[in-house]
């Protein structure tokens, strides 16, 4: 169907503007860019999880064919460069700030995980750089490593950073402890559950890459890189690492092949490439191979939790208390401290009215790759915990899982939870009802019985999730320790010929902003979408922006565009009033035409645009020439997408293989601009959630700290035949805190789906818990160890 046939308005499934270049092989990803005299970088990485570096001998490598330069931590330190930072400071219960060990660009005297950066070789070709790296002689004194999360806080565990005794970076708490204890004391029933949230490795299909350049004539640095937020990268590289002053550093994130959080962060390799480009006086290119990505991209999740839910005799929740140990890896990555704290603890109320909540989180260093935000970031961990314990409560009380949820749903808004968040709007029962209908909940017993006849086990699992998106009101996050504000910017430039460029601080790496944003602008200005160009990802073009993560580009990024468009309309009306000799209040702007109300005087958009630039006879005191407006939008609240996912599984007890028979997702994202794109976001999120629940697991050897799942042979990525087609639906409550009423859709699938799947599997097997990923081996073992009665 052509876009002409479906229309381009808000709410239409407009086909994407960006697709043409991608389906014809004309995208421009970082690794596609080549420069004259370009050199290649290769990073020598630590083969040990923990070792002292006694010395690095680069002499023979320096004379290897093609070598241009070799850099070690000493060069970086001698040049006065700072280390990488964590942009969010979390404090412990006792008020002390988190304990941060230094995070050098290249290791100085210690390596702290397998894959840690030891030296950078720059050569004429990648092959030569790689060969030379093999000739570098590093004298390591290997040390015992702290790997298994559960053991890392013991007093004899090897230390990752001397600054953090017992490897504990922070002991954080949220909620009201005494109220929670009091509620537990009078509870009729207490449900307890221990949960593991498995470590994941993000695996955007485009590996990280960088191209660093230095212009000697102007003293300007340019970094092309795979970033979700090029302006934040520039700020960190300039203000904290000290590569170059901000105005002498340009960061460009061109087409980026997926991020899922992993490309928010500022990493050592990209930093080293742009810094060293000036040292060698030539452009430096680096592209991670997949094995390097496994070792050095920030990983996700990795929690151990104990949860307790207090209920009264009617199944009403009274209180929740949670103790979580969160793995931070060897160094704090850019936002890692915020993920298991403010992005996690604040969502533990789920969709439920829980009067008292208390959560404690210990952030713990280990000799593994840094752990930071991965699609959902904290919210999947919270949702998993809440929806698993609610399901367990249903089973232990004998109350139907849907009914126990209904009894506890929040029904009036705004609702202040005990853990900071104030939910603004929602209708949780509506999505539960719609999901149950789509999943044919009524027909489940018959399907289960039929499966049983074939010797198969069927189960059904719910997940009624909520998340907080649209990150975030700057004042709110500032008070919680963020080092940045989380507003967004937009600039609308109307050209004299009437077409429009929109500059946004959001960044698209698959989300289709070039389409959705253009849809908004075109429908507002009454011009065709092809006359709207969305410009993003270049710090020289867009003045500043906070980038894309936390499902913020719609609710925050588009709100900034709306604000800029409001200003455009105000000015355009002034010009129209002047040109048509009418009062501003009498000008109506509709479908691309300015009309003087009650007359037949009109002026089309293109004519007005031209007049704005010819500016003939403008009263210059009142109207400036030109038509260009910018806006910064700071949200007033988080947004709260919510919904219900239901998963039906069938398990083969002979093999332990779980097949997803039906996956229903009903989501309330508020206003939807382009349903085709939104559905695509949900599909991708669910696939990652199914990956977490059934397939994916980042595993380190607990003794040696070697990454065991370091390639696609060992880390099980979801393939097409692991997944079903998905069954999606939407409900809608408009978000009251932004002009378009949008809530955000990028992460919901990954947040909601894992507990639905595990609830279905435990239902099928009649067991209390199974660890993610519920691989066939684990499922089979669980079947074998079931009590006999249940097995029959």
């Amino acid at each position: 169907m052509s876009n002409a046939a479906i229309g381009e308005g808000i709410g239409q499934p407009v086909r994407r503007k960006e697709d043409f270049r991608f389906i014809t092989g004309n995208g421009h990803y970082t690794d596609d860019i080549a420069r004259p005299r370009q050199t290649w970088a290769y990073f020598l990485r630590s083969p040990h999880a923990h070792a002292k570096i006694r010395g690095i001998d680069t002499k023979s490598a320096e004379t290897a064919p093609g070598v241009v330069a070799i850099f070690t931590g000493k060069h970086v330190a001698d040049d006065g460069l700072g280390g990488l930072i964590c942009g969010w400071t979390v404090s412990s219960k006792d008020g002390t700030p988190m304990k941060v060990g230094p995070h050098p660009i290249l290791a100085v005297d210690t390596v702290r995980y397998v894959g840690d950066h030891v030296a950078m070789v720059v050569a004429e070709t990648l092959a030569e750089a790689r060969s030379a790296a093999e000739m570098i002689d590093v004298d390591y004194e290997t040390l015992p490593a702290a790997v298994a999360l559960a053991a890392c806080q013991s007093k004899d565990a090897p230390q990752v950073h001397p600054e953090a005794p017992r490897n504990t970076c922070f002991e954080w708490e949220l909620g009201n402890k005494s109220e929670t204890e009091a509620a537990f004391a009078k509870a009729d029933r207490i449900v307890k559950l221990d949960l593991t949230n498995n470590r994941l490795i993000p695996n955007a299909m485009e590996p990280r890459a960088a191209l660093g350049e230095y212009d000697k004539g102007t003293g300007t640095y340019t970094l092309h890189t795979t970033s979700q937020n090029p302006h934040v990268a520039r700020l960190v590289l300039s203000a904290f690492v000290g590569v170059a002053p901000e105005h002498k550093l340009r960061v460009i994130a061109p087409d980026v092949g997926g991020g899922f959080g992993s490309k928010i962060f500022i990493y050592a390799e990209e930093t080293a490439c742009v810094w060293a480009a000036a040292k060698v006086g030539r452009p430096i290119k680096w592209t991670a191979d997949r094995s390097e990505a496994f070792l050095s991209d920030a990983h996700g999740r990795d929690h151990l939790s104990h949860a307790e839910l207090a209920l009264d005799k009617n199944g009403k929740f009274l209180a929740l208390r949670v103790k979580t140990v969160a793995n931070l890896g060897a160094y704090l990555s850019t936002f890692s401290a915020s993920v298991p704290t403010y992005l996690y603890g604040t969502l533990l109320s789920g969709q439920y009215d829980i009067p008292a909540i208390y959560v404690e989180v210990d952030g713990v260093y280990t000799h593994t790759a840094p752990v930071d935000a991965y699609r959902g970031a904290g919210r999947p961990e919270a949702t998993y915990l809440v929806e698993r314990i609610v399901e367990t409560a249903a089973r232990e009380t004998g109350i139907d899982p849907a009914e126990i949820r209904r009894r506890n749903f929040i029904r009036s808004f705004p609702h202040q939870t005990p853990v900071i968040m104030a939910y603004d709007a929602g209708d949780y029962e509506a999505s539960l009802d719609a999901a149950m209908k789509a999943a044919d909940h009524k027909g489940f017993p018959a399907r289960k019985a039929e499966a049983e006849k074939r010797g198969k086990l069927r189960g059904l699992g719910f997940s009624s999730y909520i998340e907080a998106c649209g990150l975030a009101p700057s004042a709110a996050v500032g008070s919680l320790g963020a080092g940045v504000g989380l507003w967004e910017s937009a600039e609308v430039r109307v050209n004299p010929t009437g077409n429009v460029e929109v500059l946004t601080g959001s960044h698209s790496h698959g989300q289709g902003h070039e389409t959705t944003f253009a849809q908004l602008v075109a429908s507002r200005l009454g011009i065709p979408m092809e006359q709207v160009e969305i410009v993003h990802g270049d710090t020289d073009k867009v003045q500043f922006g906070m980038g894309t993560y936390g499902s913020r580009s719609g609710a925050v990024g588009m709100s900034a565009i709306v604000k800029a468009l409001d200003k455009i309309e105000t000015k355009a009306k002034k010009i129209a009033a002047h040109l048509m000799e009418a009062a501003v209040e009498d000008i109506v702007f509709e479908n691309g035409t300015f009309t003087v109300q009650g007359t037949d005087k009109t002026m089309p958009w293109a004519q007005l645009a031209l007049s704005a630039y010819t500016a003939h006879g403008f009263p210059s005191a009142e109207i400036e020439p030109g038509l260009k407006e910018g806006a910064f939008y700071d949200p007033t609240n988080f947004t709260f997408p919510a919904g219900c996912h239901i998963c039906e599984v069938e398990i083969d007890p002979d093999t332990g293989v779980t097949r997803i028979i039906n996956f229903v997702a009903v989501d309330d994202f508020g206003t939807i601009i382009n349903p085709m794109i939104v559905e695509g976001q949900v599909h991708g999120g669910i696939a990652q959630g199914i990956g977490q629940a059934l397939l994916e697991h980042g595993v380190y050897d607990p003794e040696s700290g070697q990454l065991i799942t370091g390639s696609y042979m060992d880390y099980c990525m979801p393939r097409a035949d692991d997944l079903p087609s998905f069954n999606l639906g939407f409900t809608k409550t408009v978000c009251p805190s932004n002009p378009l009423g949008m809530k955000g859709c990028g992460e919901a699938g990954a947040i909601a789906s894992p507990p639905a799947i595990i609830n279905a599997i435990t239902d099928a097997l009649g067991i209390r818990d199974i660890e993610m990923p519920a691989t066939p081996a684990r499922v089979w073992a669980a079947i074998q160890s079931r009590p006999r009665a249940a097995a029959e």
Binding site: R16, M205, Y712
Partner: protein, 154 residues
């Protein structure tokens, strides 16, 4: 250095290559055809799929010298006379791509799949995509696009 000669997207191409050069690196770096991508180093992701003598091949799994004399088609050579191939059209129509990184490999795989198995069903498409990983789409719309293209081309 050995010289390799092959036909790429209908045009003769020949160059000196190091014997260890993979076909994908030859295509990307020496010919400058960057539509073909590299997503892994274990020949599993399929981002690098091109056609070698009409068959889908992972270009990271063969050396450039092994393609001596071959007829290579990359994603850049799929559209004919400015007309998109039906599989390309279907990917756009059914939103079978998000970040676009896996897309060239997916499309080249799909074209070959439809040639080999004109009567596709969902199960077969999913099984046949075993060697192509997409992290963005959950495959839902890729499967839809391939089924639609195979209908269209019947």
């Amino acid at each position: 250095m050995p010289v390799v000669a092959m036909t790429v997207n209908g045009k003769p191409a020949s160059a000196d290559v190091e014997a260890r050069t993979l076909l994908v690196h030859y295509i990307r770096e020496q010919l400058g055809l960057t539509g073909t991508h590299v997503g892994c180093d274990t020949s599993q992701c399929g981002a690098c799929v091109v056609h070698v003598d009409g068959r889908a091949v992972k270009s990271c799994a063969i050396l450039a010298v092994q393609a001596e004399g071959a007829e290579i088609v990359t994603v850049e050579g799929l559209a004919k006379n400015g007309e998109l191939h039906p599989v390309q059209q279907a990917f756009r129509e059914h939103h079978g791509l998000q970040c676009g990184f896996c897309t060239p490999g997916m499309i080249m795989t799909a074209v070959d799949l439809i040639r080999r198995k004109p009567n596709l069903d969902e199960k077969t498409v999913r099984e046949e995509l075993e060697g192509n990983i997409c992290r963005c789409t959950g495959y839902h719309n890729i499967v839809k696009a391939i089924l639609a293209a195979s209908q269209e081309m019947r």
